[in-house]
Symmetry: C2
Subunit: 136 residues, 2 copies
DNA sequence: TCCTATCTTGGACTTTGTCTAAGTCAACAC
DNA sequence: GTGTTGACTTAGACAAAGTCCAAGATAGGA
């Protein structure tokens, strides 16, 4: 994730301790935290950080394409730092656990022209649902 | 939708005027209303209907499998009465318009066993994104 | 017609997210 | 190293979406 900070500096970002901590919290695989969870973990390291700053920083990371916004349950949005490798999500209907998964083929190709109604398609998001080994 | 009311009566539902109006509002193709929109349209016919009743009724219809809950934007959930024909959704990134679409093949089949991590998969939801003819 | 479990209501409350005005500070120039 | 300045952060008010509850109303069976 340190290269992320370099990329952000290259885009004219001021490198504040708050932004650094948010970026650090979002490091790793299969990370899908809500904004509140990001705030809680960031506050462990930087107790004064405000919710508004966490929301601002997450929004900036999303619009820069460094982080994906995922809403799998209609509740809080989740933030996925794995934005540079195409993937979909597998969600446990029992406990809500989320895994990144890689289906075969391109889902967009499965939509025939007659089913596109003149839309210019830019992409597709797939959410697989099921029960994880612990919940099954 | 009148057969829906019959099915509900068969399941022991009390047939109140509020439930009848909510079911009527949800009649038709390509209907994807938010709870607030359902409430507004229901209130046109039955001014005293409360938001709580609309939420209750929608929740009941969803758990009976008569209506699908769709959250395409992380904002308000939308309610889709087309629950008895498998379909996916195409959403305009410009204006938010939603169409029901029917991709080829089964998206679940595209997920190899090695990518299932021991989950028992129950289904998949696909959201296609793009620009509609008016917004393009 | 009466009874009662179920349903509805209004309003308080919670969660998630946005906005604003005032204060702070990173980065650049010197 | 010091000063300057515009971008950044903060606390708290606000808003949208949804849930919960106690009290009153009513559908449908007896």
């Amino acid at each position: 994730m340190s290269d992320l900070l370099e990329r952000l500096r290259g885009r004219g970002w001021r490198l504040t301790s708050q932004r650094r901590v948010v970026a650090e919290v979002l490091d790793g695989d299969h990370v899908h935290l809500t904004a509140d969870e990001v705030h809680a973990r960031a506050a462990d390291r930087l107790p004064e950080i405000s919710r508004a700053t966490v929301y601002n920083t997450l929004g900036e990371l999303v619009s820069l394409g460094e982080v994906l916004e995922v809403s799998t349950d209609g509740r809080a949005k989740r933030y996925d730092p794995n934005a540079h490798h195409a993937h979909q999500h597998l969600v446990c209907s029992g406990c809500g656990a989320i895994r990144d998964v890689h289906p075969q083929g391109d889902p967009v190709a499965a939509l025939p022209a007659t089913e596109r109604f003149g839309f210019v398609i830019s992409g597709a998001e797939v959410t697989y649902r099921g029960l994880c080994p612990d919940c099954a």
